[in-house]
């Protein structure tokens, strides 16, 4: 076998392996979509009719469960929390990367340290705190959008700070120095020069926080009652003690995946660029 042919065969084998892995990875999503286009009876019996899909489950899912409410709540809470976490992380990450201050190292370690404690440890104190606030002050956080936004912001900001710190470290300090020589203040240089340069990192951080919040179940189950429930809670309502609406469950799964897919594909370029930059340029 000639070296060229050997190389050709190796490439072909690797390509085949790549596609095989891709198919395995995509198969749950394809199965989800195919199932959402079947009737409840077809899913129950396993007799899929892929040639005659139906969208009836997509119509019924809005009637049997108030899915619109869960979708809206998820979009509001996750977008706001991801925006706030990114904003705070940009400020704190910049300070950690560029502005030496007393206790900087301890602060940095503290930020990482928060990730070592399981989130569930905070559930009871946060729950009791929310209830106390509601019963003793005009600040109502239990079962409100604002409550969930604050919780998710608090949870995802530490890891976002660490992300952003690496992105800022990757930007040459000479750029800011040149801006300040030209008359910019420190904040002006941060706002006009550093932030635009760190745009991929900001996008990556935002999408990362958004995805984490989108799937969170434990806290939203405990800290909401009816008004601020998000999709992970709402989607369970298709499963009852006396009936399970499989087709509608699958349709709800597809609908709830769309915003995540859109967020990912719309920002894919910056996301990949941002995550790799943050990973290697520390």
């Amino acid at each position: 076998m000639t070296p060229r042919r050997k190389k050709h065969l190796t490439n072909w084998g690797l390509n085949a392996l790549t596609y095989a892995v891709l198919i395995v990875m995509l198969s749950p999503i394809l199965w989800l979509i195919a199932s959402s286009l079947q009737t409840r009876g077809q899913l129950a019996s396993g007799d899929y009719d892929l040639l005659h899909p139906t969208v009836s489950a997509f119509k019924q899912m809005w009637e049997s469960v108030d899915f619109g409410k869960y979708l809206t709540n998820s979009l509001i809470i996750c977008t706001a929390a991801a925006l706030l976490a990114t904003a705070f992380a940009a400020s704190a990450g910049y300070a950690l990367a560029r502005l030496p201050f007393r206790g900087q190292k301890a602060f940095g370690v503290g930020v990482v340290g928060t990730q070592l404690v399981p989130g569930s440890m905070f559930l009871l104190p946060v729950f009791l705190g929310f209830i106390w606030l509601k019963q003793n002050t005009p600040i109502h956080l239990f079962d409100t959008h604002i409550g969930m936004i604050l919780i998710y912001t608090a949870f995802f900001t530490p890891v976002a700070i660490w992300f952003m710190r690496y992105f800022f470290l990757a930007i040459p300090p000479e750029l800011e120095e040149a801006a300040m020589v030209d008359g910019c203040t420190r904040f002006g240089a941060f706002w006009r020069i550093v932030l635009p340069s760190a745009a991929p990192g900001l996008v990556a951080t935002f999408v990362y926080a958004f995805l984490l919040a989108w799937d969170e179940l434990l806290f939203v189950t405990a800290l909401t009652a009816n008004r601020a429930e998000t999709i992970p809670v709402g989607i369970h309502n298709f499963i009852g003690n006396y009936s399970e609406e499989y087709a509608q469950l699958m349709a709800a799964g597809v609908v709830s995946t769309i915003p995540v897919m859109l967020a990912f594909f719309a920002t894919q370029r910056w996301l990949v660029q941002g995550l790799t930059a943050g990973a290697v340029k520390g």
Binding site: A44, A92, A95, F142, I146, Y242, E244
Partner: protein, 464 residues
Amino acid sequence: MRKSRTTALMAVALAVLSFFVAACGSSSDDAGNNDTKSNSNAAPAKDLKGQTVRLWIMNNGPKPVADTQNIVAPFEQKTGIKVKVELVGWDVQLDRIRNAAVSGEGPDVTQAGTTQVPFFAALGGFENVQDKVSQIGGASAYAPGIWKTSQVEGQDGTWGVPWFTEARTIYYRKDALQAAGVDPKTAFSSQEALKATLEKLKAVKDIGGKPIAPFGGPGKKAYDLVHNLMPWVWDSGGAELSSDNKKSTINSPQAVQGVKFATDLVGAGLWDKSMLERDGQQVEDQFKGGRLAVFIGGPWVLQSAKRADDDTWSAAARKNVGVAPMPGGANSKGFTFIGGSNLMVFKSSQHKDAAWALIKYLSDDKVQAQYANLMGMFPARLKPQEAEGTVDADHEAFYAAIKDQGRSYAPIAQWAQVENAYKNQFGQILDEAAGKGQLSDQDIQSGLDKAAKEADGLLAQSAG
């Protein structure tokens, strides 16, 4: 350095500002709730008009909120009380109701599973409605087994009002029995008759070219596995707990024989082993799809056969579905589990009188029948139950099951945990039967000993 400090201060100020914006926003977000509270405070005690009662329900049927809202519409028109029906998934309802009870932040009324009532009542967050139940006929308006689900062992009071009832009984395929040459009237008259019927059904490999198994029941994945196996234990003279509810008796020789009846069906190939990997709904769908000749199900299955939009039914299964009472054991008439849901009023409710008015309305015989029909359940009250039981022979079988064969568990706060311990061991025993075939008494005894040990630990812990 000075500029660095300024930037850091700005970042802190931004964070503080965001918090205050958030806090202010939360007040407006919750405005609706405040309005409700101030209305209730302003209203005279007896004037209930204009109050809003929040009612938590679980997904009981295909359109749970819309159906319930329709049921309460005449009540709203008549009394001027608004009912806000809110859906809570069965998966999260235990956490939600418990959190609401301990925190005081919940609705006015909630649906609760009958076996959950003692647990919730023990939390102390629910109203004792003992002094009001005479307005709805009191205990005499309900079957004793159903009324018992509103009580708590060792406490004098009534913590819930039964809303709707379900019982499990035998479903069979008439055409399959005909093919096997078995008379439906005697096919399920006793446990021995059931076994003999299944043996004959085993020879019927298919109906109309579609393969069919004699019997199927769910395994460890079924949330209600204990409800499915306890009837065999009760039939054998066993019980879940001692008479004082202080010790587990799930490892008694009688209980071993009860569980053995089930595992013998698996071992003899009469119980389709593949069903043990499914949950209750999936097994139900297998029966409806025509793959099982016999299974044990609730009244909602019968109701769904009449719904043309339920396409899980195969034409043959829908046409040939039959219902029979549960078979009796050697020394018993045959037991079955009766459950359903009760309505409970939160102590923290700001509208207790309006909440009770709603419960009174939902306890009306006609409304009970209407709601139960919508969901394919049985009403909780005796009178509408009796009326429902005369609709046809199938409904009669369910009525007989509720009236004569129905049994539930001890009304103790620890039951939910004990049931979970039993469920895990029952699931393992059935798995073992699927793997090994016939299980010996010793095999089963060993599994049930573990369940009893765990249950005793839970009972001792809670008691202490």
